[in-house]
Point group: C4
Chain length 386, copies 4
């Protein structure tokens, strides 16, 4: 398995969403009669699309709204809501910065330290609205944050970094004992990100509620350019799904995998499920919601890194309400609205009754259609033509 | 057969028109002496290029003109001509809308219900001109529409949806019994669209007059983006042709396959035949005709979908008469005019006496030529340069 | 050999110049000490780069100049110099036409019939300057033109059409008997174009002086778009070279192959030789010469086709004298000048003493470098940036 | 090994940086605790990134600064500092030239001959600042230059040309005896460039301190376009590393390989090491330093070639100090700053303790992400949009 890339060395070809398409077969189902729910730690959720732990996407209000619509949204414990009593003006300032200034400004605005009182306060605000909060922490701070979050009443806790592994070497600080963290809490713990079969299996051994898949593919992420690392998401998801199935066969425990990053339109989300995902984490699609705190802008949580920023603030614009983005009616035909409707229509078109069936549908390798023509049309739309 | 796309999973590489080229061999024929006709349900047609059931392409007048020129044009029974007594102003309004407003406007203008009296009236109008009408209905309405169409004197009836299968699961409504429909009518029934060998075979078991091949490749179609589904047309056509040949070997019945979508220029049409098609359905090439009702615009019939629009209104411009587009003389060198002349010249260049011989000519996998240069030239033409 | 493009059908992957690169090895040679000459019909020519039979490239004056510089230029017997006593104004008119009008204008200006007296006169003009003329005719007129050309003193005669084969079926007109033509003349006859091994072998059986390889790859040619036919030039040349070598092994007769079309820069020319060519025919590179009759414009000889034009008039600009384009000094670094210097430097870099050695050098499949970046730079240059 | 590119001929697929990505595994390391140093001729250097021998990148001052920061910078003995007493105005003139004029101007400004007194003076200037100078000469002048350089106190000497081999055929001049040169000097001699396994092995037999890998991939280099030669850098580096390992196994001597060219961002540099490099030579990234002599411009050393220029003067802009480019803090997120930080973070992310471990990390073949989107964004940035 793999192609020769030089003398004595092979590399595997990995695939991204742009390179595959889902193949309809001999059975179709009425889209209104398919089941697109999924299960996390014994609880069933209607919406398998989770809002990403990014400051331009999720704030306490957005988390509340998402919860009321039947979905999940992750609040980032490294974000501005943990650094400022009221970050509303901060967010506006980021949105108004020129592209040239944006990275430096984000770096500066994330300098104030994270405050533990604010962590507890944000969680309480969400709970007070009747929604179960989900928060994310980086591995170095996971133990401390988990204690605060659990006390504040969190049910789901996310440990997330660009690359997370069970085995981490460091002498300058105490490394996270993931297994210990999970054992010591009643919260369901999601862990990520990772991309390989072996790493996913090692993470599953720690008994997380879910494993997050994805390194380097996101629109607001420049890991591929800055660090050279990353695996295209279709292959990463297929590998993660193989680990999940292997782990299930061996232990009887089903650890769902959540594909995170690189999905821009409904079609990409459908392809992630067809590649084996149980749920997906989406950033930019939700950043376009009227209720998103970024005001039409979106940036990766590695953007503020003081010494080596690895994210871009990108303009996504505002296209409709969160409800329209999730359930329609869509007023755009570009796949950015009515994501659940698109998912269900896809399931109907390929005869998949459930997400688990969608995971096994046939896909083909298919080059992106008419890149040239589409680019040309875009160029016209932004005014390059007359 | 297939490439590994991840651990334990293979996917087949599928090809589109941009990726192949027809290989001339050791025999050539005078283009004036080849035969480009095809047969549908026992009747021979001179032109194997059918105008698509799209409101920007076919109205009753266009259908009449096409019939007089020796070809076929499909009138869509879900279109504006079934919703309005006189949709002329409606079509103008769509053509005049800004790109931003177009999708929403189309959604709104398709809200008035389809009227059965108009269906009958349009069919009669075409018959009155001495042309045999062809109409298309969606599966849910096929039985009712077929009854009206047959009574109104239709000879060819098309059942068409994005993805059509013999087996459809729905409890909310009665599903179409395709075999029953075909048995119960004297009309020739064309059914589609589908893309896989198995599905094509199952559809052929119902004894249609033809099977339509193609999901997701059209210029005005965004199924790939919105739903993630689709198969590039060369592979879909090769698979459909394999099903046709298999069905013929087994039953002695030759069910022609019609490739629908994704052909922009004469070369694409030639490649569809070289991939195995008996006829092709073309939209945007005919939308450029002076006689096309779209006034230089073109939109997919999934565009009006109220909740999940999956088509784009695209500007194609008006480049000549339908007669010029079919038979020349061409005044443009871009392959958009004199489609029959191009087909015949291609047949002569590769030594194919008939469409059936063209179906077996050698093709090679060949990347699109100089994408960069062409894009660059286009950019210059639209005024990006000086 | 080949990839599956669908059920039961394989196609060969063919390669173009943009997809390969020449691999330097363990030997290098001083470029001043390599031999870049080639042999046609027993006569040795210093320059293996022939100017194409296109009206924007070669007129009698250009043919004379090229001959004096040691090279070959083909004058097209279907061109304006055979239709007008003095076509100077005609050529100016073509150069001044707007892009929109160009094809139609070229169609119109080629309507006056070819005059046999002018054929003889042009050949005499070239001979009078002490240069041996080369002219090209289409197969239908080859016998008549050959008689005139031979009488007027031609030594090399080219029979050329988009697709030429030994076997041609036509009842409306008498087909060319190539073998008879060649036997009946003392001129060296070059024949083309073709792309497959079998066709090249069949043509070689007729004992031509050379076989011309190339269908569909040229910059001013739109056969791929209009007719769908063509084979990328690297594969076409490798196949043609295989036919040449096979024919030589079998008969002891070495029929050189000449790669025609698709070479834009020195690097492409070097790659054509590395693919097996004995000589190359180049159009647009010479159309940039100050002495070229097109005045910075260039069009394919299928452009004037009245009913199905298959060529584009493209703007190439004027960049230097023919001598600079052939021998330098180059004032541009884009590979368009000092083509012979580039060829010799390439030969030195890869340790090829002769063209025959260059034909056997290693090549690798290498994607075009930084397409995006280059396109971006071009965009900047034409003024899209500030 | 290889694909068929035509009848009877295979070619190897070669890969570039844009086509691979590094795959994180099951182990991670604190980036502050990895070791990114390398060894050249028994001496250990902290920075494995060398500034290229190009006049827009390295002058005596830049060499001094680089040395003080712990790195290496190569001063070109064919450059303007060897032709002019004070080339400051010359460099300004190049920076101020219009793109159209740049190549010709560079050709003209490099006409004054190289002066031996200036070679010695520049080396002394660098030594006087307490930094060990590195200089590069072309093979034809290597013996004479080496003598001057050694006398002036150089420790490292580079023999560099586009394509360097042990075996060179020339009767017009005396060819370099590389083995003799290396035996006769106490300086450590680096030799290049080359791309194949066999050539690298032959060069290693001459006992150089290092072999430089890379033909044709650089941003300021047009060898691929002008000469058609080149091998994408990932494959070239993998092959070079295979030669190094083979040579080490056979002789016990470890000759480091240095990948030169084509690395634009931190991610590319990381991929070069993951492909097997011991160090890298970088041009355009350093040309962006405030201290770089090119003033935001950059040109290849083949650009001045009088008869066949093969380099482009490209605008890279000025983005920060050399220290920021090497060590951060980065103010841009595009991978052009904090190269050492990026390398160390990559090493941590993939669990590589040393460069030698990074050489063996898994890579996958991964197409460039979202070319279309990125081009689109770039287009917007340069003002094509509103």
């Amino acid at each position: 398995m793999g192609e020769w890339i030089g003398r004595g060395r092979k590399a595997r070809r990995a695939y991204g969403f742009d390179e595959i398409a889902i193949v309809p077969g001999a059975l179709t189902i009425n889209p209104d009669e398919v089941d697109s729910s999924w299960e996390l730690g014994g609880k069933r959720y209607e919406i398998p699309i989770i809002a990403a732990a990014m400051d331009g996407v999720v704030d306490p209000n957005f988390a509340i709204l998402m919860g009321k619509l039947g979905g999940l949204a992750i609040l980032n414990l490294e974000g501005v809501w943990m650094r400022y009593d009221d970050p509303t003006d901060i967010l506006k300032e980021i949105a108004q910065a020129t592209p040239e200034r944006a990275t430096e400004l984000v770096q500066m605005l994330y300098l104030p330290p994270v405050r533990e009182d604010l962590i507890a306060r944000r969680i309480s605000e969400i709970r007070a609205a009747g929604v179960s909060p989900i928060v994310s922490a980086i591995p170095q701070k996971a133990e401390r944050c988990a204690a605060i979050a659990e006390e504040a009443g969190c049910e789901v806790f996310v440990v997330q970094s660009t690359v997370s592994t069970v085995r981490h070497i460091a002498s300058a600080y105490k490394t996270l004992d993931l297994e210990h963290l999970i054992k010591g809490t009643k919260m369901k713990v999601m862990i990520g990100n990772c991309v390989s079969y072996e790493t996913a299996l090692e993470l599953m051994e720690c008994k997380p509620a879910a494993v997050i898949i994805g390194i380097g593919p996101g629109a607001a992420c420049t890991s591929r350019g800055v660090l050279g690392i990353g695996v295209p998401q279709v292959t990463a998801t297929v590998d993660g799904a193989a680990a999940r199935d292997k782990f299930y066969t061996r232990t009887g425990v089903y650890v769902p995998i959540i594909t995170d990053g690189g999905m821009n339109v409904g079609g990409d989300i459908c392809k992630a499920f067809a590649s084996g995902a149980d749920a997906v984490i989406v950033g930019s699609a939700f950043a376009k919601a009227e209720e998103a705190p970024g005001g039409g802008f979106h940036w990766g949580m590695a953007t503020p890194h003081a010494n080596l920023p690895r994210g871009t603030r990108i303009r996504v614009g505002t296209s409709g309400t969160l409800e329209e983005i999730l359930y329609g009616p869509a007023h755009l035909d570009d796949g950015s609205q009515n994501l659940i409707g698109a998912l269900r229509t896809c399931m109907g078109s390929v005869g998949a009754q459930t997400i688990r069936e969608l995971q096994r549908v046939e896909v083909c390798i298919a080059p992106a259609i008419k890149t040239e023509g589409k680019l040309f049309q875009k160029a016209q739309r932004i005014g390059m033509g007359k």
